[in-house]
Structure formats: C-alpha cells, structure tokens
C-alpha cells in the first residue's frame, strides 16, 4: 500500500466535503476518482497533499503517517499534486517554474536547471523554456503543471483534471505520457471527467458522492454498477463510458 486514507472527514461550516472516506492505493497502479461536481474530489486532493487538514481520520503515505505533515514535506517525499486551476509562477520563466520543484532534490542550480529542462521536454513544452509562465496558453499551462510535478520525482502523482479543457489532439500525447509514467512504476491518482481516458488508464475507480465513497472497484464493474449509473453517469452512461 503506497497511499491509505482511513475514515477521513473534512467539513466547511455545515458542508461535509468529505465524510468518512476510506480507500487504498496500491503501488504502480492508476486510481481514478470520479463523481459529480461538489462530490469532494478536489477537497480529497487538498487533504492528501496537505493544504487542508482533515477534521478527523488518517493519511498514510509510503508506510508513514503523514496526516500532520506540511505540504512541502509531503511533496518532497514524493506525494505530489497538480492543480485543476493551473497555478504557474506567472512572472518566472517556464524553466524557473520547474527548477523550483527540481531544486527540492538537487543541491546546485545547474543540476536543477538540467532536471527541469528534462521534465519540460518530456511534457512537450521544450519550445517555451524561456517564456514567462504567465504568457502561456491554457493547454501549455496544464503541461507546465505536469512538468513541475514530475520534477519532484513523485512516487504518487495526484492529477486534478489535467485533461479537462484540452482538445482531443492536445490530450492524446498527455494520455500516452501518463501511460508511460505508470509503466515506469509511478502511482497515479486522477480526478478526471474525460471518461474514455479514465477507462483506458485506470486500474481502479473510486466514486465519490457528497463526500462519501459510493463505490470502488475495477472500471468495468464501476461502469455497470447501478448506483453509480444512477448517481453520476445518468441515462447517457453508454456514451459516457464509450
């Protein structure tokens, strides 16, 4: 088990964003988290990455209890997230954006720049190295999020809708990249609305509804689960899962 949540709850005022969520992620697998808007997917990521402290429950990563550990130490340990609404360091160049993350593991700036360049080229942003990140188009910002995360050498990579808002042709190389990362032994947890990609990549699917786990299992089984279909996929489930 590389990531385990035990009975994690988080409320904002009267809203129970997460309500006793328990789930486990095996190493070298792809776990998808789906659910209707407001189901608690992004809160789940915030709690796992450390931006939000859960009100109760426990988070273990790589054999250690990280419930009280600050975000930057989780990130350095290899529990890394991307943001759905991209958060570039706008005034810094693409290279410097990623060098910040690469620097977490490397002593010298030179090494950090080399590692950052590699990550940037891997996500296909090589042409933008010296560009200020604030000037990037939306698709490139998504790639930048991914490059910054990869530079941290994640063991578990939490991807918050990296594919959303991209055209099919922009998606394709990223989906291939994610499949490659998994083949290299990385563990991926995806929040994703793009169903074909979820079905193609995921080993397991976790369905959240109103902060609780509605179902968890293999994609094919989830797609057939009547509760899931009723709660989330709706009548057009055949299309959605195609």
């Amino acid at each position: 088990m590389i990531l385990r949540l035990t009975d994690v709850s988080k409320a904002f005022g009267g809203l129970r964003a997460l309500d006793g969520v328990t789930f486990e992620v095996e190493p070298r697998t792809v776990h998808a988290v789906i659910g209707p808007n407001g189901a608690g997917k992004t809160t789940l990521f915030s709690v796992i990455s450390g931006e939000q402290r859960p009100d109760s429950g426990r988070i273990e990563f790589d054999g250690q209890d990280v419930t009280a550990r600050p975000t930057h130490l989780r990130a350095r340990a290899g529990l890394v997230r991307t943001f759905q609404l991209t958060r570039p360091f706008a005034a810094l160049s693409v290279l410097d954006n990623v060098a910040v993350a690469a620097g977490a593991h490397l002593r010298t700036r030179k090494e950090a720049v080399a590692a950052a360049t590699e990550a940037i080229e891997r996500v296909g942003l090589g042409a933008y190295l010296e560009r200020p990140a604030g000037e990037l188009p939306a698709a490139a910002r998504k790639q930048l999020e991914l490059a910054r995360a990869l530079a941290l050498r994640p063991k578990v990579l939490l991807l918050d809708e990296v594919l959303a808002g991209l055209t099919a042709s922009e998606r394709e190389p990223l989906v291939t990249l994610l499949a490659d990362l998994r083949a290299e032994g990385m563990t991926l947890v995806l929040v994703e609305h793009v169903m074909p990609a979820v079905m193609r990549l995921a080993d397991r699917v976790l369905v959240l509804e109103r902060g609780s786990v509605l179902a968890e299992g293999e994609p094919a089984a989830i797609a057939r689960d009547p509760r899931v279909i009723a709660a989330y996929l709706g009548e057009n489930s055949d299309d959605a899962l195609a």
């Binding site: 990455s49 450390g50 931006e51 600050p70 975000t71 930057h72 990130a75 350095r76 890394v80 997230r81 943001f83 958060r87 570039p88 360091f89 706008a90 005034a91 810094l92 410097d96 954006n97 060098a99 910040v100 993350a101 620097g103 977490a104 700036r109 950090a112 910054r148 530079a151 941290l152």
Partner: protein
C-alpha cells in the same frame, strides 16, 4: 549573476571619484542618495522580490541606528562592530515579528499595517526609555581618533561617501547573489503563488522569514551608517514613519522587484529632497510663504509617487528596461 555583478562593479568604479569632483554641499546629497539606495535595496528584497509589503522598515533602520550609536557611545566600540550588532538585532527582531505576522496569516495591507505597528511600538519605546535618551535622542562623540576603524572623519571628508558607497555595493551584491541562489528562486516562487510553491516542495514560511531577516539586516546597516554620518539619532529620525517611506519611495519610483530600480530611484529622489529642503530654507520672492515651513519634501514625495504610479507603474527602470526578470 556574473553579468549583474560586473555591472555593479562598474557602477562602483564610476561613482568612486564623485566626492573629489563635487562641491562639499553636493557630496552630502550624494551620501544621502546612497543612504536612500541602501534602504530601498533592502526594502525591495523583502517587498519587491519577497512580495511582503513592509510599511515599517523604520523598525530595522532604527534598531541599526540605535545599536550602533549606543555601542559607540557607551562602550567606545567601532561603528563597524556596532553595525554588525545592529544587523543581528534587526534580523532577530524582523524574524520574530515576521514569524508572528506570517504565522497568523497576515497578508497584503494587514501585513503592512502590522509592520507599521511594530515600528511605532519601537518609536514609542525609544521615546520613553531613558537608556536611549528618550525624546532627546543620542548624540555621538564628534571628537576622538579619526580613521576607517572609528569611521570618524572631518566634515565633508570624501571617506564618508566611500564608506556609504561600499555599504551600498555590499547590499546590492548580497541581493544579486541571493536572487541567483536556490533560496532566491524559491522566494520568487513564494511571491508568485504560495500554494503552488508549497506543492512544489518549498518551505514557504522559512523563505518569507529569511527574506525579512536579510532585509532587516541590510536596513540596519543603513541605520548604523546614518548614526555615524549625522552623529545624532532620535526616536523620530530613527523609527518615524517617514523613514519607512524613504525606504519604499526609491524602490517604487525606480522599479519594484528589479535589481537596479532602487538605485535609480535613489539617484532621482535624493537631489529632489535636497532641492525641497533648500527651497524651504531660502525660497525665492514669490514663494516667500514657504520660508521655514516643514513638510514640503513629504508633499513633493507624494506628488512624485502619484505621477510615477499613474504614468509608469513598473517604475523608471521597469518602464525603460526590456523586460524585468
């Protein structure tokens, strides 16, 4: 980085002969400009590059000025030691108050107000403490051994300018080296987006406190030099709000968050403030009502600030430079 250090060295070499060329009265203005520059360079590190807007740099300036003055008067120590001690005191004060402000998540205007409150607190403490001369302030000895160790020279001696120049160059070099380091890059990331910086493995609080501490120490050097040069410190001159404004203005006018902006701003501002002072002392016929009035310099600063903010929000340097880093 190497390129910037070379530019800095060229600036140093170009400015060094200035006191030999200028009349004595103008040399005082030049020293004033260097003092402005030191303060603004330090402020710019914390507020321009660190994104932590300070309205209380008088706190660090005053701690440097009073520490240097006290150690010189009471123990007869060299001002160099006084400045080092002042740096340590100011850095400790900055780190502690900075930690409190950061810990309680003060941001933007609230953070600025907190820094202002800390400076006012020190001003009132100095005003009411007999140890540091209360409202009267401290006067440093004029007589005594002269030289580079005691930093005591004849009035108008070019050495004062050279000392200030060295201190200013040292401050800018510190900023350049810091910016080029991993810590400097991380600081810029924290300024741009704290949440994303933490997610990228950056210890956000530690970097903010580092920026505040270094900025405070550099400001204390300016304060220490002030007490050595003007031989007098008082609660208002050391801890007053106008001191904080003097740290902010050159940076804003020259270009916040740029390496050279504060220097350009200081070079523009110091002569202007001198002109304002002269105007009040000996106004021409039609401005006779200004005779002896105080506050003209502050009005002038305000007008200048409004013009700059409206016409070139990125400052003089930002306006004309190709693209700030």
């Amino acid at each position: 980085m190497t390129r910037r250090l070379i530019v800095l060295a060229v600036i140093g070499v170009a400015l060094a002969p200035l006191p030999l060329l200028l009349p004595a009265a103008q040399e005082a203005v030049a020293v004033r400009a260097l003092l402005f520059a030191m303060m603004a360079v330090a402020w710019n590190l914390m507020s321009g590059f660190g994104g932590l807007f300070s309205f209380g740099h008088a706190a660090y300036f005053g701690l440097g000025a009073y520490t240097t003055a006290l150690l010189t008067i009471e123990l007869g120590l060299s001002p160099w030691i006084g400045m080092l001690a002042g740096m340590a005191v100011a850095a400790a004060f900055g780190a502690l108050t900075g930690y409190l402000a950061v810990r309680y998540r003060l941001k933007g205007a609230y953070f600025a107000l907190a820094t202002f409150a800390f400076a006012e607190m020190l001003r009132l403490a100095a005003l009411n403490s007999e140890l540091v001369g209360g409202a009267v302030g401290l006067t440093l000895p004029v007589t005594g051994e002269q030289g580079w160790w005691t930093l005591r020279f004849d009035v108008g001696d070019p050495a004062y300018f050279w000392v200030a120049l060295l201190l200013m160059l040292g401050s800018v070099a510190t900023v350049i080296v810091l910016l080029n380091s991993r810590a400097g890059l991380n600081l810029l990331a924290v300024r741009e987006d704290e949440t994303a910086a933490a997610a990228a493995g950056v210890a956000v609080v530690r970097h903010k406190i580092m920026a505040i501490g270094v900025s405070a120490a550099l400001t204390a050097v300016a304060g220490g030099f002030y007490s050595v040069y003007y031989l007098f410190v008082s609660p208002d001159l050391a801890f007053g709000a106008s001191v904080s404004i003097q740290a902010i203005l050159p940076a804003v006018i020259g270009g916040v968050g740029t390496v050279w902006g504060p220097l350009i701003g200081a070079a523009v501002l110091a002569p202007l403030s001198d002109m304002a002072a002269t105007l009040v002392r000996t106004p021409p016929e039609f401005l006779a009502f200004l005779q002896g009035r105080s506050g003209l310099d502050v009005i002038m600063y305000a007008v200048l600030l409004i013009v700059v903010v409206l016409a070139m929000p990125r400052g003089l340097y930002g306006r004309f430079a190709r693209r700030p880093r």
